[in-house]
Symmetry: C2
Subunit: 204 residues, 2 copies
């Protein structure tokens, strides 16, 4: 087990980033987390998982997502919008995880931003050519090429908008990550090796 190392993975739809995360967690012998932590966040915060997921999908429409700022809880002086409340609940949960567990792999959740003050974190971005990503989606999810292209566009748009809205950063800009790996010519478990090589070679 590799100790005191957290890896966050951000990924384009169809790039295989989620599988990279699982392979990496296995290789490091540490826990793996992704969207499923919403169950835990729901438990601790009292918010509904379904509403939180719905909120993320709505981010695909940046304009209306921003508008929803207007719908705060309305209680005296509390103008935090509901999507900010959802985000803050996740924010607190992921930070708590990092303080308690020290070592894990987490996919998505803006974890690179949430954990930006932690020294033991490596941020990775997995991306690919449109053609390769569609091919992977067709193979793994049984979509037609047209479906895959449509879903990919809308999923990545939602991710980019959600990330930008909550972090003020541009999703997919290399400067947000320590390492960006194109998945077109390397298998998922091999990408995990490259990430391990980074971790082993980086300064404390």
């Amino acid at each position: 087990m590799i100790s005191n190392q957290i890896v966050t993975i951000s990924r384009e739809y169809g790039s295989g980033g989620r599988i990279v995360g699982k392979e990496l967690a296995k290789a490091m012998d540490v826990p793996y987390y992704d969207r499923e932590i919403l169950n835990k966040v729901a438990e601790e915060s009292g918010f509904s998982r379904e509403l939180m997921e719905e909120d993320e999908r709505k981010a695909g429409n940046g304009f209306f997502y921003n508008l929803s700022m207007a719908f705060g809880s309305g209680s005296s002086g509390d103008y935090t919008s509901i999507n900010e409340k959802f985000f803050l609940a996740q924010f607190d949960y992921v930070q708590k995880m990092a303080k308690e567990e020290k070592s894990f792999v987490i996919v998505g959740r803006c974890a690179d931003y949430i954990l930006r003050e932690f020294n033991n974190v490596t941020n990775v971005y997995i991306y690919g050519d449109t053609e390769d990503k569609i091919k992977r989606a067709v193979e793994k999810y049984g979509q037609t090429e047209e479906e895959a292209e449509e879903i990919m566009k809308s999923a990545d748009k939602a991710r980019a908008n959600y990330y930008h809205y909550h972090t003020g950063r541009k999703w997919g800009d290399p400067h947000n990550y320590n390492l960006c790996i194109g998945s077109g010519r390397v298998r998922e478990e091999k990408i995990a090796n490259i990430i391990l090589e980074y971790i082993e070679n980086r300064e404390a």
Copy 2:
């Protein structure tokens, strides 16, 4: 010696990418090339190295660089601008190198674009946080912080404009490269290890 492997390195000013290229060439036991190939290009094409270098610097001002399209050689029907001619001379030279030598490391020169049809090429982008890059420039080149910041801005702007003008691509967009490595927390020779790990793990 690693055979039949070409690595192109694009890098932000102050990111240490040139040293990474040298360390990598040493580790692979293959030749290393950079701006110095302009001497050879000059020899083969008859163009002046000084003028070619001047042309690259001019790219910092994108608007005037594009305008220089207007100054073709003027001979009957030949409207290729002088900056395109310089670029094409390099283009031919780098392609010839790839066909003849098979294995080398090359820094800059839009080599990722020039060699995009070659299967044995790995394209790498080395980048960094502004603060880290300034620090490196101060240490390595003896600049003051203010000088380093100024030179960095102007050098990277020229690189981005030159690249975009000649390739139609956005410089620094991960999709142009197989691997992007932030140099902030990893020494140059260690970054070479990570690139080697990528090469060893990629599909043919």
